[in-house]
């Protein structure tokens, strides 16, 4: 009897002891060097950081994208092992702040144990967060209660919102990328906290992790898509409901604008009222019941991969209708999400440097960039979805820097202005700028700017003659990136 009891206790202890985290959680040491988006052939200063990660199936290490973004060199360390293993980024999803690292030296995984991915934790459950906060050499564990699950902004991109799980376990620098464990399974990746609050930490839930892992199965990360509409949660007002010819018991959201080039263009229009997405009924706050709780309707969309479809039920002019939308990236022409890793493209002609207007460029103004940037850039950034009616526009192009030379001495007033056209050809991308300056037959380059009443004039012949000398004088490797001959 005693033996039986002992065996039972031993069995229970083995079952609930959970995995040994020293065999799963790793320290990641990173050397970073981002690009300078105003003078894009340069890189900014080097910095070093520490993060956490953990091993998942397939000899891969899952971590946060913000740990490894703009990295130049990555080392992974196991607890209690002195050896440092160089690693490379296999996939990075900056919008969902997740990344997968690979280690060429397969011996790294000897004796290591991949963690299994679990489900969405319930509120009020106790979870454990593992990692290497503040650079310690041993794995740290903190316990916390799951206090809330909701859609929130992901700080890494600064623009994308997804589901987050809030806990009262502290998430400190270095913790990021570590697993959050419940019943021996990963229920999240620790990723951000709130500076102003005590002990509020956030983790990326498994719904997002699973989306990411499924996405990269085809060897490419595509990202999270959207429906391609702007919505208003205004059906709380009975008059509004009646004005839109909706039955009294209708609940849903109202379409206020349809994104240019989205799949919704052929299906939805302004003032349509969406009441259902797939099998999820929407309420007047734009919430659906999913994972057993009420979450934003974006959860129904985020559950899908790019290219998949959703069925929508909507009301228009008093009639119930159905349609199908393809989930697409639908990124704004003025990219508001921070970009990482890729060298920014540019054109540098006659000392005039042109770059794409995006958040990275705006952030070169410093911490207070949102209020310090020139008005026209703030205006385009905030309202690009409404202001841009050009279906062919890929981006806004800005004159970001002038490398002084005789030929551009008087062009300072045009700095940081977005381009409208060159020689009356609309500028919808950097490629249009390249194309315009390849022209060697015109007398002038007449560069017009959005919201500016005076053009910038370049003597075309002199500009071509001076171009190489200017590039050489200021150590610019090529007149354009991606590189090509002028």
């Amino acid at each position: 009897m005693k033996l039986k009891m002992f065996i039972l206790l031993l069995f229970t202890a083995v079952c609930f002891a959970g995995p040994d985290m020293t065999k799963s959680v790793v320290m990641i040491q990173i050397v970073k060097q981002p690009y300078d988006y105003a003078t894009p052939w340069k890189q900014t200063s080097i910095s070093q950081g520490v993060g956490s990660g953990f091993i998942i199936e397939g000899n891969r290490i899952l971590t946060n994208a913000h740990n490894i973004s703009d990295s130049r060199f990555i080392i992974v360390k196991k607890e209690n092992f002195a050896k440092k293993y160089p690693a490379t980024v296999e996939f990075a999803g900056h919008d969902c702040d997740l990344a997968i690292l690979k280690i060429a030296d397969e011996t790294f995984f000897d004796g290591m144990q991949p963690l299994a991915i679990g489900g969405l934790p319930e509120v009020n459950r106790t979870v454990e967060t593992y990692g290497f906060p503040m650079g310690g050499t041993h794995i740290s564990v903190t316990k916390g209660i799951v206090s809330r699950i909701q859609t929130d902004m992901y700080a890494h991109s600064g623009a994308d919102g997804h589901l987050v799980v809030q806990t009262d376990a502290a998430i400190n620098p270095g913790n990021s990328g570590g697993p959050v464990i419940l019943d021996g399974n990963v229920v999240g990746v620790a990723f951000q906290g709130i500076r102003q609050a005590d002990n509020i930490g956030y983790m990326i839930p498994t719904t997002i992790i699973n989306h990411f892992l499924l996405d990269v199965n085809d060897g490419r990360y595509d990202g999270f898509g959207s429906l391609g509409v702007s919505i208003f949660e205004g059906l709380h007002n009975e008059s509004y409901k009646e004005y839109l010819n909706l039955p009294a018991d209708t609940e849903g959201v109202v379409v206020t604008a349809v994104t240019l080039n989205s799949s919704a263009e052929n299906v939805l229009r302004r003032n349509d009222c969406i009441t259902q997405i797939d099998n999820y009924a929407l309420d007047n706050d734009g919430m659906i019941v999913i994972y057993g709780q009420k979450y934003s309707l974006s959860e129904a969309v985020e559950a899908k991969q790019i290219g998949e479809t959703v069925d929508v039920v909507f009301w228009r002019d008093g009639k119930k209708q159905t349609g199908q939308l393809t989930i697409q990236l639908n990124r704004p022409v003025f990219e508001f999400a921070r970009l990482y890793d890729a060298r920014p493209p540019y054109v540098c002609f006659a000392g005039l440097t042109f770059v794409s207007a995006n958040r990275n460029f705006l952030e070169t103004w410093g911490r207070e960039w949102m209020k310090d940037i020139p008005h026209i850039l703030r205006y385009l950034m905030s309202e690009s979805q409404t202001l841009n009616t050009d279906k062919l526009r890929k981006e806004y192009v800005v004159l970001s820097e002038i490398l002084p030379d005789q030929i551009n001495l008087y062009d300072g007033d045009f700095l940081n202005k977005p381009l409208e056209s060159i020689n009356d050809q609309p500028v919808r991308s950097l490629e249009d700028v390249r194309k315009a300056f390849r022209n060697k037959d015109c007398e002038f380059f007449i560069v017009k700017f959005i919201s500016s009443d005076i053009p910038l004039l370049l003597d075309a012949k002199q500009a071509h003659q001076q171009n190489d000398a200017i590039l050489k004088k200021y150590n610019v490797p090529s007149w354009t990136y991606p590189e090509e001959q002028l």
Binding site: S230, F232, E233, G234, L235, H236, N237, E238, S239, Y240, E242, Y243, V254, T256, A257, R270, N284, E368, M370, K371, D372, I373, H375, R378, Y379, M381, S382, E383, Q385, T386, I407, L409, Y410, D411, D413, F444, I446, S451, D453, I454, P455, L457, L458, D459
Partner: protein, 487 residues
């Protein structure tokens, strides 16, 4: 003996750079103005702001009239004067105020004056580097003075006003001057203090502007100073001049970049013109001309030095040749602008419809966001200020915005909507504030009032039958005595 003579000479000449102290002489010409202000809140336009008080210096110019700076009397509810010889306050009222000249003519109650004023005549003299003295009267009737020297002449505006006017700058001043203090060169008044410049510098509204203002005000109908109706940019780049086909022997001209719908030149100039000269004065590529008395000045002074209604001549380079354009100098009030730069002495216009506060967009409204407001205000509103403010049209005289919704049953669902530009009400385009009552009265049998906005924003739909009840309830709950103030 020779050495002593030189020392005396040095002392005499050094003293000569300072004007004489003429405080006693000015005692009957300078008044202390005590001003009580009571403006309106920009975000609660039905409410007055807190009472405040200030003071200014007035200078006698004619009988019982004194001149001071307009910015000191903006939003004044009560003005009282005190002289050096009279302890009790003398009631005063504004006769003419011109915020563009930054001057105000104030009349003191002649029955309350125990001793007549000695009017001052302003001299248009300017001597660069000469010592100047300035004078003011304190609340307790004592005359004070300070000193500085005339450093330069510029063409400047204050932060609030639209026009750029001739300005003297006194440097090395012993006291801050920005409230109408009287500046004298030798023993002659040459201007009054308008605002503080850099440290130990004071801007002076010169006699040239004061005399023009007084002459205009004396006519009974004040015409005001002419104001620029266009923007010009430097035209220095040889490539640009070559592109515009300006011959090498023509070394003058600025590029007319933007022509307004109001102001001087707005009816004759075109965007893309090159402005070569005004009234026979050549304008250099940086937009400056050679003034016969003051040297190089910004060309704006050639316009703001005129009274509205005067003739003005523009010489332009247009279509590959020089042309002379004859025009009439024009002014406009800030209230004529699509987005007024300021709004003084009046309650902001507003209409509260179902708790939704509709009001006119003004610079003052945006500046209500506090420090760094330009970077905080919604960019689509700020865009109207910086790109469209001087371009009202017949289709749009005011920019009407939804400032916010005061929560009430009638506007549930709309309570987070704010800072939108109103496009239509009940299908009618809203051109000006006074369109609101007309639009609300449209389609009286329709069940709903519909307010539509720009920039793809959702509409606000209100049940017409609930409006009166909601208005009463909102007025009671939020303490609003008047739901609409439209002129």
């Amino acid at each position: 003996m020779k050495k002593t003579f030189i020392i005396i000479l040095i002392c005499v000449s050094s003293f000569s750079v300072f004007a004489k102290d003429i405080s006693e002489k000015l005692k009957d010409s300078i008044v202390y103005l005590q001003i009580t202000y009571h403006g309106y809140g920009q975000y609660t336009p039905w409410k007055t702001s807190e009472l405040s008080e200030g003071f200014a210096v007035g200078c006698a110019v004619d009988g019982n009239k004194v001149i001071t700076i307009a910015s000191s009397v903006a939003d004044a509810k009560l003005i009282q004067a005190r002289t050096a010889n009279q302890n009790d306050f003398i009631p005063a009222q504004i006769l003419t105020v011109d915020y563009e000249s930054n001057l105000a003519l104030i009349e003191l109650d002649s029955n309350s004056l125990t001793k007549p004023f000695k009017p001052l005549a302003f001299s248009e003299k300017y001597v660069k580097g000469a010592g100047v003295s300035f004078y003011w009267l304190s609340a307790d009737g004592r005359m004070y003075n300070g000193r500085g020297f005339l450093d330069r002449v510029t063409v400047e505006s204050t932060a609030v006003f639209c026009s750029q006017t001739l300005t003297f700058v006194a440097a090395g001043i012993s006291e801050t001057t920005n409230l109408g203090q009287l500046y004298c060169l030798e023993d002659r008044p040459v201007g009054i203090a308008s605002l503080s410049g850099k440290e130990k510098e004071g801007n002076i509204i010169p006699a040239q502007i004061i005399n023009r203002f007084l002459a205009d005000a004396r006519n009974g109908k004040y015409n005001g100073i002419a104001m620029k109706g266009f923007e010009a940019s430097a035209l220095v780049d040889p490539a640009m001049r070559k592109y515009l086909k300006i011959p090498n022997d023509v070394q003058t001209g600025v590029y007319v970049a933007n022509v307004y719908t109001i102001g001087t030149g707005s009816d004759v100039l075109k965007s893309g013109d090159v402005l070569l000269g005004i009234d026979g004065y050549s304008i250099n590529p940086y937009g400056r001309y050679e003034d016969r008395r003051f040297g190089t000045l910004a060309f704006d002074s050639l316009i703001t030095g005129k009274t509205a209604g005067d003739a003005i001549t523009f010489e332009v380079w247009r279509d590959g040749k020089k042309q002379i354009l004859n025009a009439v100098a024009k002014r406009f009030n800030a209230s004529d602008m699509l987005v007024p730069w300021y709004e003084f002495d009046t309650q902001p216009e507003y209409a509260i419809v179902g708790g939704c506060i509709l009001q006119k967009l003004t610079k003052s409204y945006m500046a209500g966001r506090g420090e760094d407001w330009q970077g905080k205000v919604e960019p689509h509103l700020y865009n109207y200020l910086i790109n469209e403010a001087f371009k009202p049209t017949d289709q749009r005289r005011d920019l009407v915005i939804l400032s916010y919704c005061m929560p009430a049953n009638i506007n549930i669902g709309y309570q987070n909507l704010s800072q939108y530009v109103v496009d239509k009400i009940n299908g009618m385009k809203i051109c000006r504030m006074s369109d609101i009552p007309k639009a609300l009265a449209l389609n009286p049998d329709a069940k709903f009032i519909v307010i539509e906005f720009e920039m793809s924003q959702p509409a606000i739909v209100l049940d017409r039958s609930q409006l009166d009840y909601a208005a009463n309830s909102i007025a009671q709950v939020y303490g609003i005595d008047k739901m609409m103030n439209i002129k």
